[in-house]
Each structure stands twice: as structure tokens, then as C-alpha cells.
Amino acid sequence: MISFELTEEQELIRDTLNGFARDELAPKAREADESATIAEDIIASGWELGLATTQIPEAYGGAGGDRSPLTNAIILEELGYGCASLATAIMAPTAFIQPLIDFGTEAQKQQYLPLFTGSEFHGASLALQEPQFTFDPVDMRTTAERQGDNWRLNGTKTLIPLGDRASHFLVIARTGPERGLSHIDAFIVARDSAGLTISASTGTQGLHALPMSTLQLDNVQVSADNRLGGDAGIDGRRLINTLRVGAAALSVGVSNAATSYAIPYAQEREAFGEVIGKKQSIAFMLADMYSEVQCMRWMVWQAASALEQRQDATKATTLARNYTNRRALKVVDDALQVFGGHGFIRDLPLEMWLRNVRTLTVLEGPIAA
């Protein structure tokens, strides 16, 4: 049955985060971006809201909220409205937690989920991106080879958000020669594993506030117990879809922020004797931006809904990602254009939003829906 109706809980979350994003995140975005640091109090305040952890079942000490990619998409859009960098920092553990909930064995859930149910932030990150330009989740270079009771991991992972404070990494690797999302696996790797070298990544164009890490894996031994899902492994499609929906939801938030910022400017800024909003060339850009934010949102919801209903969401996700990637870039880029030269100056957030949305639309997997 087709419905765009949020549940009462989703409405409450959206309204709460709407305020949090505007009051707490947005005012701190520029400073975080310029200094390339995430203030501890922001991470703590996000943790207090339980954004990354409420969907951990009660049996593992969590709040027992339903595992809901839709609710997560709504959360991520709102946070993205405030600041995509800070949102990614707050939500980075989700890329470890959600796959654990989705695919973990009972033993894995018992061992790792309680790490995240305390009152203090606990870091754990997904390690997916690799340094080559041809990187794609279907075609990874990091390998996991079975050796008796263990797996041996080799490769390089990079641009891992908040890797500096992660106790564990979920390392995505290929276990066979076949290409495709169905052939990837995930391994829980402790920070102090032998053969694992962690270094800080150089900065990134967008999400610049985020400290990112690079992992060098040289014959890292992982016990078979730490292959996510045990012998059954994971549903690689679902994992990647969850990540892509998450990044797309953040992009919608950034696009909405840029559009909402450009509209009042066009109402006030004068040129040639009238406000620029009265000129069709500007007004039509704004109309398209406003329309696209909605269309992107419905596309993300459709994919998240497929994930929520445990359907194969690969097609819906690919369409949503394809659409939001193109439109989010255009919307934010057009918002910058509305401001003319001011859009190019770092006093205003537009250039930051453009860098952030450019980053979100190419980077695989900083957070999960």
C-alpha cells in the first residue's frame, strides 16, 4: 500500500533532530571544517541522543528500537542538513553496528554489541574504500584467504572515518575470484591485531572535519569466529545498499540546507533595482532545487523501504544513488551560483556544502542506514 506517512516515532525523531541539526551542528560546521577536527562535545551530544545505538536489541543491552533503515534515512537527512561532517562523525559507528545487527552470529552480537550501549562514545568503523582510482565494492583488492581456523587478510583500506578512535574495524574483503556484491565478506578486526598498521589519511576535499585513517593489512590473522555471519557470511548486496542509502540520505540533507539557505538570500539580495528572486533565471533555479530535494527524498525512502521490508534493494538503491548523486551535486552547485562570488568565499557555507556533497556522492560507506 503506497504511503508517505511517517510513524509517530519517526515524526518525533525528525522534529527533534531538525532542532539539533540547526542549533547544535550547523553553527559548529565551519570551525570543524577549517580546523579539520571534531569537537568531543559534539560526538558526546550525538551519543547522548542515542542516534547510532537505539536499534541495538535489548538482549544486548540496547534500547531495542526496531532495526529501521527508513528511520535511519530520516535521521541522516536531518543530520546532513546541519553538517555532513559532524553527522558522519556521530554516525560512524553505525557502519559497524548495523551490519552486526543484520548479519552477526549470536556470539558476535553478544561479544560486540554491548560495546556500544554505554554512556560514553565507543568508536568502531567500517573499512571499505581502497586507494586505487578503480575502486568499487564489486572489485576489491583486499583479500581474505582461509587458512585452517583463521582468515588471513591482505590489502590497504583508506578514508576510514574516525579510524583514530575505533577499537575495531569491519574490514570488507573478497574471499574468492568472483566479482560482485554477493561475493564480498566482512571481518571484525581489532585495532591491536598483528600485521595491522593504522595511519592518518591526508585530508579530503569534503567531510574535511573528519579525521580519516588508512589501514595497511599485512597477513592479519582473523579467527573464523570473526568473519561476520560466521560460515554463512553476509548478504553483501544488503551491506552495500545500506551504506549507499545512508550516504544518499545525507546528500538530501545537504541539498535541503543549501536550498533553504539560497531562498531567503534571493528574497533580499538586490541587483538591477530588484531582488534577484524576481528574476526568472534565479527563480527557476530555485524552483528546480526545491523540487529536486523532494524527488531525491522519495527515491531514498523507496530504497530504504525496500531494505526495511527485507526485499532485494539493489535496484532501488542503485536508482536512488544514481539520482541523488546527480541531483544533489546540481542543487548544491546551483545554490552556490545564486550567491555569485559570495558562494566562493569560505565565510559562507556554500563552498563547504559543495565539497561535502561531492565527497558523499563518490565515497563508499562512511555510515549506514
Binding site: 500500500m1 503506497i2 564489486v138 531562498i263 528546480d288 526545491y290 523532494q294 539493489t314
Partner: protein, 392 residues
């Protein structure tokens, strides 16, 4: 709860619509080539399919709400290129009658097919520029002027005509009049020849000293003050119908885009060319990339239409969303079929196939019921809080 799935029962109805459309495809080329003919009220094949109304009656109130489902029905109707096997009894003028007519008027003309006649050779979207005049003469109005692009203008039994009672009053001077086909002074000049939707009859009219009774003003009240208010409300009522007709027109355009896509992706699949959803960006061909892009654009437009209708179902304001859906539908009805033809190459223009028809038929959806530019004006005025005088 947010949900985008269609129930099994609804899916059955939609598949029925596709089947009915397919059955009509054998007549399609004939009516493309013989444009002067209009479709019969019913083709024999119509009896093979249960009427939509009967099927609607079986729908559960718990299912997708009615207006939202109606949008899917329109889309599915346009996914095939078949002629309509059963012609409906309603037209745009009937929507105006139900929005702005009095109880007496609805009783009198409710079962009459009424077209809507607003556009003139020199006045399209800018309706206050219409020059057809209405002059009161005792208990009658005298209409004079030329009208074009009247949808269902041949098949209809009567028409709701917009004319100005006083050019100086602008929009406030415009009233709508119900004129029956046999009224002296009312002539059908021609059936228009068009790029697409050729089996939809589009007429040009002339009114020369055409006298109609004063009771034929839409929303007519015997009392003079009440009458003026009724006429004002009537105008607003007619504009309000656009909030539902716009998503409907957008749905038609989206349907054409979906139809071209279905044709194109199936034809390519027959040749072994299909999207590999797992392939990854470096392993997809240009054709696969384009198929994904077209489908994503179609899907976004489709969702914007469903959203606009869903708001109406919920009794919520959908003024802006109706325009968004119309702008998006207008975009994909053009770019969707055009890009599919890129992928099918030279053979896509051949009259051996119906895919070229989707491009011609779809094209109107970005024009009638407000061009894409008019929709953008409406959206922009709303978000910028500007009047039509401030942004036009």
C-alpha cells in the same frame, strides 16, 4: 508507515489495464494515419475486459488511497500505446462543472460530456489575455470570439467557455459559460492536426453572436450579489481543480516515459543487453549507464506524482506539489522517450514499431495544463513568497 509497494489486488488491476492497452494497439497505427476519424464509443474488444469502475468498487479502503492509485492507473494506461477501447463520458468541462456548478447545473449537465475551452490563438497560459467577449442582453449573454485547442472538442456535447465580460477587469471580468453544441452562432472550425495524441480529438471553435441563457453562467445565482460571488468562487474552483488534474496530466507523461522505457529495455534485453545491477561503475557499458539514468529519472517523476496525489488523499494542501509533479512529469515525458530512442537507434523511428509514438504523445504533457515554465513560476512564487505580479 512509509511504503511503496502495490498490493496484489491492485497489481492485478494494473496488469488488466496493460492487457487492455495491448489489445488496443492493433488499432493504433490506423488512427495515427486517419486523423480525421474519431474513436468509436466502444471497440468490440472492450467486452473482454471488466470495467475499471467495477474493479475499483472491489478495492479495500485499507489499500493505497484512491487518488494515489488513480495516478498509477493513468501511468499504466500510458505504458502501452493502445487506443482507448472504451471512451469515457467525462471531459475537463465536467471537472469544472463539479467544482463550480450549482446543484441545478450539476443535475442538468452532469451526464453531458463537457469540454473546456479557454485557449485562444493569442492567449494560452496567460488567461487574462483572452479576448472572447460576453455581453449581457436581457436574460441572455452574447458570446463572440475564437477558441482553439479544445480537448474532446469534437466528441463533446457541450463546452464550458471562458469569456471576458469586461476586459478592464482582467481576471475578475472572466466568467465561464456552458454552451451546448447545437446553439446557433457556435461553430466547430476544425479538428486540429497534432504531433501526438492524435486519437484525442482537439477542436477549434468560433462564436459569432452566440446567444445563451443567463442560467448558463457556471455557478449562476438569481440574486445579483450572490451571483458575483458565485462567479468569483467559480473561477477559483476551476483553478483548484488543477491541483488534481495536474498530477493526473503528469501521470500521463510519466506513463509515456515508462512505456518507452519498457519497450526499449525489453527490445535491448532481446538482444542480450541488460543492466547488471551488480556490475559496478567500471564494468557497465554506456548503454547500461543510460538505462539506469533514464529509469532513475522516470522513477523520481513517478514518485513526485504519487506524492502530490497522496497529499490530496490525505486532505492536505498540494498546490506546490501538484506543480512539482507536473514539472517533473513534463521533464521525463520529453527526455525519457527521446533518450530511449538514442539507445534503439535508427529503427526506433520506424512505423513498424510504436516506440516513436511515446515520444510524440508524451511531448504534450509539458505543455497542456500549464507548461513546465508555468509550473516553475508557481513553485517559485510559493517558496519566494512573491505574487504573480512580482514574478511573471
Amino acid at each position: 508507515m512509509i511504503d511503496f509497494t502495490v498490493s496484489e489486488a491492485d497489481q492485478k488491476i494494473l496488469e488488466q489495464i496493460i492487457a487492455e492497452g495491448r489489445a488496443g494497439e492493433k488499432y493504433t497505427r490506423y488512427y495515427e494515419d486517419n486523423e480525421d476519424e474519431i474513436l468509436p464509443e466502444k471497440f468490440a474488444e472492450a467486452d473482454d475486459f471488466p470495467s475499471l469502475l467495477k474493479q475499483f468498487a472491489t478495492r479495500s479502503p485499507e489499500d493505497t488511497p484512491a487518488a494515489t492509485f488513480q495516478m498509477l492507473v493513468i501511468m499504466y494506461r500510458n505504458i502501452t500505446a493502445g487506443v482507448t477501447l472504451r471512451q469515457g463520458r467525462g471531459a475537463l468541462g465536467n471537472a469544472a462543472l463539479s467544482a463550480a456548478g450549482t446543484a441545478e447545473q450539476k443535475a442538468k449537465w452532469g451526464n453531458t460530456i463537457l469540454a473546456m475551452s479557454i485557449t485562444e490563438p493569442g492567449a494560452g497560459s496567460d488567461t487574462k489575455a483572452i479576448t472572447s467577449t460576453a455581453k449581457q442582453d436581457g436574460d441572455e449573454w452574447i458570446l463572440n470570439g475564437d477558441k482553439i485547442f479544445v480537448t474532446t472538442g469534437i466528441r463533446c456535447e457541450g463546452v464550458v467557455v471562458w469569456a471576458t465580460t469586461d476586459k478592464n477587469l482582467g481576471r475578475a471580468g472572466i466568467k465561464s459559460f456552458v454552451v451546448m453544441k447545437d446553439t446557433p452562432g457556435f461553430d466547430i472550425l476544425r479538428k486540429e492536426k497534432k504531433l501526438g495524441i492524435r486519437n484525442s480529438d482537439t477542436a477549434a471553435y468560433s462564436f459569432r453572436d452566440c446567444r445563451i441563457p443567463k442560467e448558463n453562467v457556471l455557478g449562476y445565482q438569481p440574486d445579483a450579489t450572490a451571483n458575483k460571488k458565485a462567479a468569483d468562487d467559480g473561477y477559483k474552483g476551476v483553478l483548484k481543480t488543477f491541483n488534481m488534474t495536474r498530477p493526473g496530466v503528469a501521470a500521463g507523461g510519466v506513463g509515456n516515459a515508462l512505456g518507452a522505457f519498457k519497450f526499449g529495455s525489453e527490445a535491448l534485453a532481446d538482444e542480450g543487453i541488460e543492466v547488471d545491477w551488480e556490475a559496478g561503475v567500471h564494468h557497465r557499458t554506456a548503454v547500461q549507464d543510460k538505462l539506469i539514468e533514464i529509469e532513475a529519472d522516470n522513477e523520481a517523476a513517478k514518485l513526485s506524482v504519487l506524492r502530490a496525489a497522496w497529499l490530496a488523499d490525505k486532505g492536505l494542501s498540494n498546490n506546490v506539489e501538484a506543480s512539482i509533479s507536473k514539472a517533473k512529469g513534463g521533464e521525463v515525458c520529453r527526455t525519457g522517450p527521446q533518450r530511449i530512442m538514442d539507445l534503439l537507434g535508427g529503427m526506433s523511428v520506424s512505423h513498424d514499431h510504436l516506440v516513436e509514438k511515446f515520444m510524440r504523445d508524451g511531448r504534450i504533457s509539458d505543455i497542456y495544463e500549464g507548461t513546465g515554465q508555468i509550473q516553475r513560476l508557481i513553485i517559485a512564487r510559493n517558496i519566494l513568497e512573491l505574487s504573480s505580479a512580482e514574478l511573471s
